[in-house]
């Protein structure tokens, strides 16, 4: 095994004077300052409410949505897999008989409490029918009442994927 000699810094006169290092640090900061002052469009931050983020990837976990079948009816079969997988118990499902002959079961009630949800994506992962997804790209949800944060079946069905390529 070779021995690697690690150089020890800080003992030379230049290092012990402190000032050269301080000045080189100040050079770095002033170069940033000058660059940004000359042209504020160099700044990477966005003025948020006016400028919405453009770099949300397709894997971003936003607010949930319930997907549709080809004929437009609900894809969910109320198997409770998502509610079982959910670590924060925020999904509340009540199943009912499906009368139109497409499948046997469907949810009568499908509520997601966004205040409890931790956005882990476990529900989308557990779903055997690809019925729940988190690809809406909605990262900001506000309401004035606690109750408004509970999304019901209709609201979840109305959410759209923010990108169509999937």
């Amino acid at each position: 095994m070779g021995i690697k000699i690690v150089p020890r810094y800080g003992k030379s006169l230049k290092d012990r004077l402190y000032l050269p290092a301080i000045f080189s640090g100040m050079k770095t900061t002033i170069s940033h300052f000058a660059k940004n002052l000359k042209d504020t469009s160099n700044i990477k931050t966005e003025c948020y409410p006016e400028m919405q983020p453009t770099d949300i990837t397709s894997r971003y976990r936003g607010v949930h949505r319930l997907t549709h079948r080809d004929d437009g009816s609900i894809r969910c079969v109320a198997c409770f897999m998502c509610a079982t997988a959910c670590p924060s118990d925020c999904i509340f499902i009540e199943a009912t008989e499906r009368e139109d002959g497409i499948d046997e079961k469907m949810p009568a009630l499908f509520n997601i409490d966004l205040l409890e949800c931790v956005f882990c994506g476990g529900c989308a992962e557990a779903c055997p029918c690809d019925a729940i997804r988190m690809d809406t790209g909605i990262f900001s949800f506000v309401a004035t009442k606690r109750e408004d944060f509970v999304l019901n079946r209709e609201k979840l069905l109305a959410n759209k994927a923010f990108r169509d390529e999937l």
Partner: protein, 427 residues
């Protein structure tokens, strides 16, 4: 008492207020915007009055208003209510008073009268500054102690120990300057610096006394409790330090006092080392003799600078959403800029055509010197801010090492060196 005397004194007091108290919101704004730019972000930029943002300056006034109207909360555990209330006042008043001896311009001669252009017309100069800068630590210590909170007490003890160790070096660095300049009067010091060294270098303090300059600037950072020497507070260790228990305008006084102290330190640094109110190569007498040339130079330079500034405004002062009233601001700013140009050039043009009396020349020279002082002060304050956002806080033992083992011996050695040179050369 005559009207001229009263007018000059009132103007001096207003100027001193503007430079110290009026500078505080501007410095807070500079601090936040410079910090933003250094860290590649924008800083406060949305607060506006009818679309006028002034680059975010309005935010400082909004913050100040908030502090004034907040509830003045006081914990029940605080027994020493009088001292608790007195502490921020001491910090603020001493910072404010230490500003009062900074000369904004050379002695102004109107008719047969001579005026000292300072907030208070006294000749104590540097000693007055040292006295009041040293007093401000009492406010910090009393505030920390009367808060009845161990974090506050720790913060104030740390601040007290720091000031003791740095004030010694600061005063000793100043002594070597007093030996060089041969006076404690700041106006004399500035006039000494208006000479030329070897015929072409301005004899600024930083050229004559580089070591004293370094020591003084470093200790001034410690004196003003600014990074890298702001161990009086420390979010990770002792919460807010000495002002943990303070709220509303009591905290506001500490906050403003800190910025006034910083501005006072910058003013003293500018006065001692960077030629004070003098433009380089242009002493008061040179300015008065060549005033016509100076006026012509201003008439040429001012529109050029305004053009550059106007282009910068048009390019950078935009708001992302198009139909926001904040986008109208640039238009008005440019109008104001043009108006200033017209007024200044008009007045100077009148002087050029009609000739100018001696009193008017004196007043105009004083105005130029005040502007020079203001610009230098702003630049020095910028250095304070710049250093704050570059360097991390010193550890306590490093700070004491630097103070006692490095700065103190260096400043004493500097006194001997200076004395040897002064005696040896007989200057």
């Amino acid at each position: 008492m005559n009207t001229v005397l009263v007018a000059v004194i009132v103007i001096n007091i207003i100027l001193a207020l503007l430079f110290s108290l009026g500078a505080a919101p501007i410095l807070v704004w500079v601090e936040r915007r410079v910090a933003g730019f250094i860290q590649d972000r924008l800083g406060p930029n949305r607060c506006n009055i009818n679309g006028f943002r002034l680059g975010g300056l309005i935010q400082s006034f909004a913050d100040m208003l908030k502090l004034v109207f907040k509830e003045d909360f006081k914990a029940k555990a605080i027994k020493e209510k009088f001292v608790f209330t007195l502490a921020p006042v001491i910090v603020f008043v001493s910072a404010f008073l230490s500003y009062m001896v900074m000369p904004f311009a050379d002695n102004l001669v109107i008719g047969s009268q001579t005026f000292i252009m300072q907030g208070l017309p006294i000749n104590l100069g540097a000693l007055w500054f040292l006295a009041f800068a040293g007093l401000s630590i009492y406010g910090i210590i009393l505030g920390g102690w009367s808060s009845n909170n161990k974090y506050s007490l720790l913060g104030s003890i740390r601040a007290g120990a720091q000031v003791i160790s740095y004030e010694a070096s600061m005063t000793l660095a100043l002594v070597s300057l007093l030996v060089t300049y041969g006076s404690i009067n700041l106006v004399d010091m500035v006039n000494f610096q208006s000479k030329l060294l070897f015929g072409f270098i301005p004899a600024w303090g930083i050229v004559i006394q580089p070591l004293a300059a370094v020591i003084f600037i470093v200790t001034a950072f410690a004196e003003a409790n600014r990074t890298p020497f702001d161990i009086a507070e420390g979010e990770s260790e002792i919460v807010g330090g000495y002002h943990t228990e303070y709220s509303a305008m009591k905290f506001g006084l500490f906050f403003v006092g800190e910025y006034v102290a910083m501005s006072a330190s910058s003013a003293l640094i500018v006065t001692l080392f960077f030629g004070g109110y003098n433009l380089p190569w242009l002493g008061t007498d040179t300015l008065k003799e060549n005033f016509h040339t100076i006026m012509l130079a201003i008439i040429v330079i001012l529109p050029l600078l305004s053009l550059l500034f106007g282009r910068w405004i048009i390019k950078n002062n935009v708001w992302p959403s198009r139909d926001d009233k904040r986008n109208n601001e640039s238009k008005w700013l440019i109008r104001v800029l043009i108006l200033i140009n017209i007024i200044v050039i008009g007045i100077l043009g009148c002087f050029l055509i009609n000739g100018i009396t001696e009193t008017t020349t004196n007043i105009a020279v004083a105005i130029i010197q005040i502007a020079t002082f203001a610009i230098k002060l702003l630049l020095m304050n910028f250095v304070f801010v710049w250093v704050r956002w570059t360097l991390p806080r010193f550890r306590y033992d490093q700070l004491q090492n630097l103070g006692w083992k490095i700065l103190l011996p260096l400043s004493i050695a500097n006194i001997f060196l200076t004395a040897l040179v002064v005696v040896g050369l007989g200057v």
